[in-house]
């Protein structure tokens, strides 16, 4: 079997990726494999899949001349090609077009994981409040009213702090 990359040497390194029950294979000669260590070690099949999906999404939605990102200057064409953001502002610039694709590849469209203390700001507090409210529910079910009262006070003061911060 010949190398997928150069088509000259015999392929000696074989990499298999399985995603959603679909198999993809790469066969490389030792030289090309050395050059392509990123391919061998990164989740490249997912990235390829993403740019394919991105292209599909673009081809099915009418083309709108998109203006580039105000911070890094990346255009939608460029984003479509690289499949990567150029800076933290790109996400806002491309969000309307991005969301269906994100939903498609990730299966979700809302972050439910860790929220950083500072950058998360108010959201972090809101998430903490949600957690406390759940705790409160279970405490009430177990009839631990003293703890429940303390929790309720804590939640109230956190909520009023958020309101103050809004003003």
């Amino acid at each position: 079997m010949l190398c997928d990359e150069c088509g000259k040497n015999e392929a000696k390194v074989h990499v298999t990726h399985i995603l959603n029950g679909k198999k993809s294979e790469n066969h490389l000669c030792e030289e090309c494999a050395k050059k392509n260590q990123t391919i061998l070690n990164s989740n490249f099949s997912m990235e390829n899949l993403f740019s394919a999906m991105l292209n599909n999404a673009l081809n099915t939605t009418p083309y709108l001349p998109a203006k580039g990102c105000d911070m890094c200057g990346m255009t939608y064409e460029e984003f479509k090609q690289t499949g990567k953001f150029g800076c933290s502002h790109c996400i806002d610039t491309f969000k309307p077009r991005l969301m269906p694709v994100v939903k498609n590849i990730q299966g979700h469209e809302l972050h439910r994981g860790k929220i950083p203390r500072r950058a998360g700001g108010i959201y972090k507090v809101q998430k903490d409040i949600e957690k406390l409210k759940e705790e409160l529910k279970s405490v009430i079910e177990q009839e631990e009213y003293e703890t429940a009262a303390k929790l309720r006070d804590k939640i109230r003061s956190m909520e009023s702090n958020i309101k103050k911060g809004d003003e």
Binding site: T16, G21, S42, M46, C87, K114
Partner: protein, 331 residues
């Protein structure tokens, strides 16, 4: 989970970016230096025991060694001018700078240790976040350069050794099945799903919409199921095919300790059989040898980096055979 040699390593990687700098794809040299400086200062202020290394100060060979030791990614090694990494004193945590994202916190552990790796990564992530401004989006979570990492920015992966399932041709069906559960499976260095050395990497496919703990639990449960299947197959082989498997393992040992020429693919297959035989207690050779470490040591890049002279393929196979004989036969 008990460490039975089936689960080899665990790894947690968190991708993070700074809000006020362009991402590595778009940044210039000056900006990349500022990112390195900012993160380095943050770590220094906290008096953490980390040592910084700049890619531009390393030779090709030195970089390869770092990659083979899994301390940095191959993609970071490519960032000759802009890349750097902070390595913890115990070499468990590596904070890679200016790879695809500004920051990639990687924590390595042995056996099934995803939870411990997450705790360590989470802590250092908190420390950094207290000092630098992360890019974070209310809906999409941590903003990463590639949308496949968005949300938690977390990739949890486990490397497993599945020889019994492989030699009995059960592996393909199993791997295709589990890949439908939102898990990515990668057979490294192997043709088809018959990965070289029967080594597989299992990691979470999605990074958005679930908490880090949920993603880790899911991977852990799937790995536990795979381990159970491998163990059951080993028990089945021992009961029904002892004579054949014993013969396979002793043949592997015979070749490994006598051959004068050893291509990577053959070496990986034989070492995998030897490892299986040791763990099934059907071969009493190479008793205290770490076979997985030897598997890493004989990879083409590793052999190249162990010598200064250029090697032809033939010379490399000869050297590989020598390394294996020495390792297995020395006391």
């Amino acid at each position: 989970m008990e460490n039975n040699g089936i689960v080899l390593t665990s790894r947690i990687r968190l991708a993070r970016n700074l809000k006020n700098y362009k991402f590595p794809l778009k940044m210039d040299l000056e900006e990349s230096n500022k990112v390195v400086e900012e993160v380095k200062n943050a770590v220094d202020r906290q008096n953490l025991n980390y040592k910084i290394t700049y890619m531009r100060d390393l030779s090709e060979v030195e970089k390869n060694v770092m990659v083979e030791k899994h301390l940095i990614s191959p993609a970071l090694a490519e960032k000759k001018e802009t890349g750097a990494f902070l390595l913890s004193g115990d070499e468990k945590v590596s904070i890679m700078l200016n790879e695809e994202d500004h920051i990639r916190i990687q924590t390595l552990g042995t056996g099934m240790s995803l939870k411990e790796c997450w705790e360590i990564s989470n802590k250092i992530d908190d420390v950094l976040e207290g000092e630098v401004d992360y890019a974070f989006d209310r809906e999409l979570g941590y903003v990463t350069a590639c949308p496949t990492n968005i949300g938690t920015g977390m990739r949890a992966s486990v490397m497993v050794h599945l020889p019994a399932l492989s030699i009995t041709n059960q592996i393909e069906k199993l791997l295709i099945g589990i890949s439908q559960l939102g898990v990515a499976v990668r057979g490294v260095y192997g043709e088809g799903t018959k990965s070289m050395g029967h080594l597989y990497q299992i990691s979470n496919q999605g990074t958005l919409g679930a908490s880090e703990e949920t993603l880790i639990d899911k991977i852990s449960q799937i790995v536990a199921q795979i381990v159970e299947k491998e163990e059951r197959m080993r028990a089945h082989l021992k009961k029904n095919n002892l004579y054949e498997i014993e013969d396979d393992c002793y043949r592997a040992y015979g070749l490994l300790t006598n051959a004068r020429r050893m291509p990577t693919e053959e070496a990986m297959k034989l070492l995998s059989l030897l490892k299986l035989g040791k763990e099934m207690e059907i071969i009493d050779k190479a008793k205290d040898k770490d076979i997985y470490r030897l598997m890493v040591k004989i990879q083409p890049n590793n052999i190249l980096s162990s010598t200064d002279t250029e090697l032809t393929g033939k010379e490399r196979d000869k050297m590989r055979a020598e390394i294996i004989r020495n390792e297995l036969l020395e006391n």
